[in-house]
């Protein structure tokens, strides 16, 4: 066991010869660090590349192609976006709203559902577990979903059509249920009950604070899901008068370009390229769309570091 400093008194100074059996030798430590470093770099590199392209001068790009250090820098792409990109900015705020609201709703639904399933004293546990689990294996598919959303709920082109489809995921429920079962011992709940807490108080005041790491994980998944979702927008939120969510806007630009290059010969004399942002502007859009969610990550970081080591029962 490694010695951890505990509050109040310092550990006795250890003799150097005492070896920590969990440590790896410095040689392998360096090797592993290099491997992980290379992996981390290969994850970050494409993004750095995108940033560089977005800062390249358009004409230089056409002449020289992509390069990591362009001969001609320019911030024209960004100034173009901030001048004419009213649409981009309003897309941005819409996506932000959906992400925040959606994540809150998602967390509320998932934690309450999962908590109920995690309690052994809950009589219909089996049935409700099955209901959640069944949807993981068999789903109605897209067309029934579309019909329910548009013809039955009439939620087309409201922001609920972007929030509801992602607001409850069976996978998260199962993860969360397991998490509750493993980290929240029955003894705590029992003691809370003896102290006179009702079900709801127990859940909000005892269970939730103890399960923050799990909630943070689910919250991150869910907010990433909302932030990156474009498919629901494609199906339900496509009134041209409305601002599309950010990722859908990028998707549209990308898809349009594909489509127009493939079908150039069918468009006759119509100059479709005129309506499409240039390469550097597109890259700048990608940068602006990715940064916020990268920024959000550090807020969740501490919970991941705490990981699942949270215990609250004195053993």
């Amino acid at each position: 066991m490694p010695q951890y400093p505990t509050a109040g008194h310092d550990p006795a100074p250890q003799a150097r010869s005492k070896r920590d059996y969990n440590a790896i030798s410095p040689f392998w430590n360096v090797i592993f660090n290099i491997i992980i470093g290379v992996f981390a770099f290969s994850c970050i590199f494409p993004f750095l590349f995108v940033i560089m392209i977005s800062l390249t001068d358009e004409q230089t790009l056409a002449m020289e192609g992509f390069s990591l250090w362009p001969s001609q820098f320019s911030t024209a792409a960004y100034s173009y976006i901030f001048q004419t990109g009213g649409e981009l900015l309003s897309s941005f705020s819409l996506t932000l709203l959906i992400t925040v609201l959606g994540t809150l709703i998602n967390l509320t639904l998932v934690t309450t559902y999962a908590y109920a399933l995690s309690r052994r004293s809950f009589e219909f546990r089996g049935f409700f577990s099955f209901v959640a689990f069944f949807t993981m294996l068999f789903s109605g598919g897209m067309v029934p979903g579309y019909i329910v959303m548009t013809q039955f709920l009439h939620l087309q082109n409201t922001i609920w059509s972007l929030i509801l489809p992602l607001s409850l995921s069976a996978f998260s429920i199962i993860v969360m249920r397991t998490f509750f079962q493993t980290t929240v011992p029955d003894e705590i709940i029992e003691s809370a009950r003896i102290d006179g807490a009702g079900e709801f108080t127990t859940f909000v005041r005892i269970v939730l604070p103890v399960s923050l790491p799990g909630i943070a994980t689910i919250g991150l998944f869910s907010s990433l899901g909302y932030w990156n979702d474009w498919f629901n927008a494609l199906l339900y939120y496509n009134d041209p008068q409305k601002t599309p969510p950010l990722q859908y806007l990028l998707m549209q630009i990308e898809k349009n370009m594909d489509f127009l290059t493939q079908n150039a010969q069918n468009l006759g004399s119509f100059d479709a390229a005129a309506g499409i942002p240039t390469e550097t502007v597109r890259m700048a859009m990608v940068v602006l769309a990715t940064l916020p969610i990268i920024m959000a990550y550090p807020f969740f970081q501490r919970y991941f570091v705490q990981g699942l080591t949270v215990g609250s029962v004195k053993g």
Binding site: V143, Y146, N238, D258, N263, N266
Partner: protein, 507 residues
Amino acid sequence: MFKKKLSLLSLSLIMVLSVFLAACGSKDSGTGAAGTSSEGAAVQSDGTVDSSKLEPVKLKMFMIGPNQKDLPLVQEEINKYLTEKINATLELSMIDWGDYSQRMQVITSSGENYDIAFTSSWAFDYLPNAAKGAFKPLNELLEQYGQGIIDVLDPRFLEGTKVNGVNYGIPANKELAQQFVWRFNKKYLDKYNLDISNVTTLEDLEPLLKTIKENEPADVTPLAVAKGFKPYMPFDFVLGDEIPIGMYIDTKDFKFVNILESPELKSALDTMRKYYKAGYVREDIATLDGIDNMKTGKWLVDREITQPYAELGWSRSAGYDIVTRPMQDPIIYTGSAAGSMMAISSYSKNPERAMMFLNLLNTDEKLRNMIQYGIEDTHYTKLDAPYIEDLPAMKDNYSMPGFALGNMYLTYLHEGEPADKWEAFDEFNSSATTAPTFGFNFDTSPVKTEVAAISNVSKEFISALYTGSVDAAVYLPKAQQKFKDAGMDRVIAEAQKQFDEWKANNQ
């Protein structure tokens, strides 16, 4: 990776939807009996409509293209005019290029109510959707409410877009024929005093390409084409030019052949291989999606589909002079007639009024220009007729795809365009000959698996072969074998069978 995913997704989407559609079955065929009489009574003897005899209706229309900021504004103007003309209002929804086909499929299969939609051989595909019953048969409606359309359209438009003898769409009046040209960057022609008056075939280009290669720096591409490049083949392709099945344009026996086995292809491939080795094309051509030669100006020649006065437009948008030489005579294919159409939904509650509206789009100059160019003095100013000048608001808030909005011949011209532009179009269309399979539509459902397999083989071989990236002597036999294994012969036989039947019925 991502594209693969997307295509898989859309494939599965289409599969699900087609099952769903089949379950629905097509709704009514022919015109709805309700309302016909009162609508019919409003049409006067001279073909105009007496709107006072009509109930007000709202027409819902889907159009391809990016949404425009000023659309509500223009729509208001259009509606004022339409109410006066046919007592209808229009609700126009734009769906962006890349989304259009997919969205329209979903809308169609869920039975959402709309009246008019853009359809064509390349977006929201006309043929399968007409066959599935997504559109109303239009022949009777055309007779009764669309006389104007019949008058203005080249009859071959309607002839070529029939499915089993029925029209399901109204083609837009534009260039009807297809003609490939070589485009030349005039700067280099002048610099080296190159003569293009005798250039038609791929082989004719050689001395020109050689001159550029030897005298210009390496970043000037002599033959600036991307992986989609195909040497001109004198064939009428039955499944698009990616799939090497076709009929000789000057065919006598009306037989589909395997183009890979034709001598024309062999010699074209040898030429391309020679050019590739000589460095006349980009080295990475086989994987090049597009090439922005127009932007850089560092190229001598490329390949494009033309229309009358196209080089003026190209020169204007490139900012330098471009000249062209035809590779072939203009030819009318089934696909080119269906390049841009409007169809009426089989779920439409007001097909008569929708047809009246389409009739106006093809005959009424004011409406036609309003829907394309917006509002006078907001989006454009009038110069001497028929010329207009765009105002900045047009580019920013209202640029509509004009080729998809009905009769092009009614539209205003821009400065620099010849006054006889539309006459030239007319001439171009009437000078064109029809392809041997014009009007024939190949229903691939009996050989669906083979067609899918062939498409995969063609993705593997066609661009590598046609661009000269690989040696034809080695890879052509390989490709032939693979296509055979994928069921090429069965597809050819099926196409032949259907064609013979069609030919017998249409003599």
